[in-house]
């Protein structure tokens, strides 16, 4: 890690050409994973999932059920990894922490007036404090998209920096909500702002807005992470979230990471999927790879 001071010029963030991004993704989606390579990817994907419930209807009992799923993905098949984390609202962090005690599964909490981010700095800091005080290992914040569209980049930057400080030891994931940003140029600028302001992870979406994560958007964000790493030697993680519900797509994300950032990012310390239904499809594929037979969906638990 270097001590070189790196300053972000908001008006000099790299431009992105949409056609070229799509060309790059065409090359990724035409890759073909077979046998051992596929199995390796599937297990990796499983270990990177942030199993998520972010509903108005969430209850303690629902969160406990989700935590059980996280710990017991498919006990019929031994040797499987667990997911990386469980992601909940701040008021369920305590419950999740208690349920997951003794496992390596992290508890992530959304904060900062998730999902819209429409509140005061004070409330957002309190929201973050609530999550951290309840024991969250990771905080998933949202950026102020309205201020971003107004061009008030310093506000967005300062807000992220303030939340980062409030996180203490918890790792901070910064949600750009790319579905509300409109262009790849803006995705890149928001990525740079979040990274330079101290994000440990950048994350595409809340899952509440469509489109959520896509491969092209993820590609743009991975390039931002890469440029920053080359400048500073500091690693930043990536979390696409929302809309990744099948194993094939998850593998394509991993191939994009492999070809853009290499093995150093292919661990759940630096790459996550925010998803609720992905795990079962990955499990189904793992069982199929092992036994040669697709099993009924009813053999995989739904929590």
């Amino acid at each position: 890690m270097s001590n070189k001071k790196v300053i972000l010029d908001y008006n000099a963030t790299p431009v992105i050409d949409q056609v070229g991004v799509l060309d790059r993704i065409d090359r990724i989606t035409s890759r073909s994973l077979k046998k051992d390579a596929k199995m390796h990817g599937l297990k990796l994907a499983l270990s990177m999932i942030d199993l998520t419930t972010l509903e108005g209807a969430d209850t303690d009992k629902k969160v406990i059920q989700l935590c059980n799923k996280a710990m017991h993905l498919h006990d019929a098949m031994p040797g499987l990894p667990t997911v990386a984390a469980v992601c909940v609202y701040p008021n369920f962090v305590e419950t999740a922490k208690k349920t997951l005690k003794g496992t390596k599964i992290k508890v992530a909490s959304v904060a900062t007036a998730f999902p819209s981010g429409q509140s005061s700095r004070e409330i957002k800091l309190l929201d973050t404090k609530l999550a951290v005080d309840n024991g969250a290992d990771e905080v998933d914040m949202v950026i102020s998209r309205g201020r971003f569209h107004e061009g008030d980049y310093s506000f967005v930057f300062d807000e992220i920096a303030a939340i980062k400080e409030a996180c203490g030891k918890a790792r901070l994931k910064v949600i750009l909500e790319t579905g509300e940003l409109g262009t790849f140029d803006k995705v890149r600028r928001a990525s740079d702002i979040a990274i330079y302001a101290g994000a440990d992870f950048i994350k595409t979406s809340t899952g509440k807005i469509s489109p959520a994560a896509t491969l092209p958007v993820t590609s743009v964000m991975l390039e931002a992470i890469k440029d920053y790493y080359y400048k500073t030697g500091i690693q930043v993680g990536m979390k696409p979230a929302g809309g990744i519900s099948n194993a094939k797509l998850a593998l394509q994300y991993l191939l994009l990471v492999k070809e853009t950032l290499g093995d150093a990012w292919l661990t759940n310390e630096w790459f996550r999927f925010g998803a609720s239904s992905l795990a079962n499809d990955v499990l189904m594929q793992i069982v199929k790879q092992t036994t040669g037979i697709y099993q009924s969906k009813d053999y995989f638990s739904k929590d």
Binding site: S2, P14, V15, I16, D17, V19, G20, V21, D23, R24, R27, S30, R31, S32, L33, K34, K35, D36, A37, K38, H40, G41, L44, E223, K226, Y229, Y230, K231, T232, G233, K258, E259, L261, G262, D263, A264, L266
Partner: protein
């Protein structure tokens, strides 16, 4: 400096396209007058898979007599059937050929890959679909020529002699045959001697489509056979795609005759990256520009010009992207760079690698392993070169990029145009005005803006200067096969 290791331990498992569905004969004859005819010489040559050096089939070698037979068949078909047929009927045959190519796309893609060494991904996603698209496009024009050239009474030329190269065997056949048929001409076509199989498979489709005998004749052989076509006195038009050297010989040979010609020859395209460009995507364009089809592309972006202020950044990004290119078995769906088309071509490329090093350029190749058998070249780039270097001046026709820097618009235009070739160019900038300023000053037939190596049947393709003359594709491609009043 901080480094990222892109040599992932997560390696692809083999993912081979199956070959059991393809139907190849052990020996191919000449396709003349709608029938398979033995060569009068009785001679055959082998076509081999450049990835394994294994023989795929024996191919008939046509001599003067066979060429004469083919031209006579084409003339007869022209006089008696094809020129008299209503244009809408002609169009139906061409549509039928297009559909049959689509139906057998997988077989064509696999054979193209086996015979030529190109990755199955490209044969499957680019060569074969584009070939079908060309037939579809020109089929639509067949009965609308009077709308393409209003009040100019477009008339066919007669018999077209067509000679195609080995880099896009089926696609180049489509570029040649489709407009010729749509405009009412008949055809004698010769595929390249190293890649004749998809043209011969197309002959099977032409039979299946019920095209009248002799409208398309496909004969095989090397340069001597090509010369016999060029020199045959009853040919009205020569359409040639290949090297500038052979193009010059053809132009000499037809001087003083009534033969019309279109020549699509070599190139040494400038691919120009400005500091304001979307650099990550420009890098993707550099890769597509030079490593597409092993660099066996006449319009390949083989001369890279990078503005000095972003040179280090672009080189870092380019080398990172090169690290993920998979070189190897062309039938593997993950292969990005396949086999060099022939031993002869590999020797040419290796000769230039030596020249580059001897000239003092710095050579960079990716760290990948190559198969033991077959003809291979790692993706290569040369830095520290200038316009004075031979590897910058001469067409290498391989996966070899020569990188130069520039400071100003005026400087890069001068350097980009400082070549005997003028087939294509690429410009990368985020400024629209700069892009159009560049495109109006670059002397090249095709200029891509913020992309490279994109093809469409509706878009004309052809060169300036020693890259040839005449256009293929689009309306321009029709005109090359017509007598049109007032021109």
């Amino acid at each position: 400096m901080t480094k990222i290791n892109l040599n992932s331990t997560w390696e692809f498992a083999p993912s081979l396209e199956s070959t059991d569905h393809i139907n190849l004969k052990k020996q191919y004859e000449l396709f003349i007058g709608g029938k398979w005819v033995k060569p009068s010489s009785g001679k055959y040559f082998d076509t081999v898979n450049p990835a394994t050096e294994e023989k795929l089939a024996a191919i008939a070698e046509a001599n003067d007599k066979d060429v004469d037979k083919a031209v006579k068949a084409a003339r007869k078909a022209y006089n008696e059937v094809w020129s008299k047929m209503p244009a809408s009927e002609r169009g139906k045959y061409i549509y039928r050929i297009a559909r049959l190519i689509q139906e057998r796309a997988r077989e064509f893609a696999v054979i193209e890959t086996l015979d030529g060494g190109k990755p199955i991904r490209e044969a499957r996603d680019i060569d074969v679909p584009l070939a079908a698209a060309h037939f579809f496009y020109y089929a639509g024009w067949a009965d609308k020529l009077n709308y393409a050239f209003p009040n100019r009474n477009p008339m066919p030329l007669g018999v077209a002699g067509q000679i195609v190269p080995w880099n896009f065997p089926l696609l180049m056949v489509a570029w040649k045959i489709a407009p010729a048929l749509a405009t009412g001409n008949t055809v004698v076509l010769k595929p390249a001697e190293t890649t004749p199989l998809t043209a011969l498979k197309l002959a099977e489709i032409i039979q299946e489509a019920g095209l009248p005998d002799g409208v398309v004749n496909i004969i095989t052989g090397a340069g001597v056979t090509g010369a016999a076509i060029v020199n045959h006195e009853d040919i009205d038009k020569i359409a040639f795609t290949g090297s500038t050297g052979v193009g010059k010989i053809i132009q000499n040979a037809i001087a003083g005759t009534n033969k019309k010609a279109t020549l699509e020859l070599g190139g040494k395209a400038a691919n120009i990256i400005f500091e304001d460009a979307a650099l990550d995507q420009a890098v993707e364009g550099i890769i597509n520009g030079i490593y597409f089809n092993q660099g066996h592309v006449c319009c390949a972006g083989s001369r890279l010009f990078v503005q000095e202020s972003v040179y280090d950044l672009v080189m870092r990004k380019l080398k990172d992207r090169m690290a993920s290119l998979v070189v190897g078995n062309p039938l593997d769906k993950n292969t990005d760079i396949g086999a060099i088309n022939s031993k002869e071509q590999l020797n040419t490329i290796n000769k230039y690698l030596k020249i580059g090093k001897a000239e003092g350029a710095e050579m960079y190749q990716t760290d990948c392993s190559l198969p033991k058998k077959g003809y291979w070249c790692k993706p290569t780039l040369f830095t520290g070169v200038s316009q004075s270097n031979r590897i910058v001046q001469e067409e290498i026709f391989g996966p070899v990029l020569a990188v130069q820097t520039f400071r100003t618009v005026a400087e890069v235009i001068e350097k980009a145009n400082n070549t005997p070739y003028g087939l294509s160019a690429g410009v990368w900038t985020d400024k629209g005005a700069k892009l159009f300023n560049m495109t109006s000053q670059l002397k090249a037939g095709v200029i891509w803006g913020n992309t490279f190596n994109k093809f469409d049947p509706s878009s004309p393709f052809g060169g300036f200067k020693e890259s040839g003359f005449g256009r293929e594709g689009g309306l321009h491609g029709l005109k090359a096969y017509l007598k049109v009043k007032g021109s």
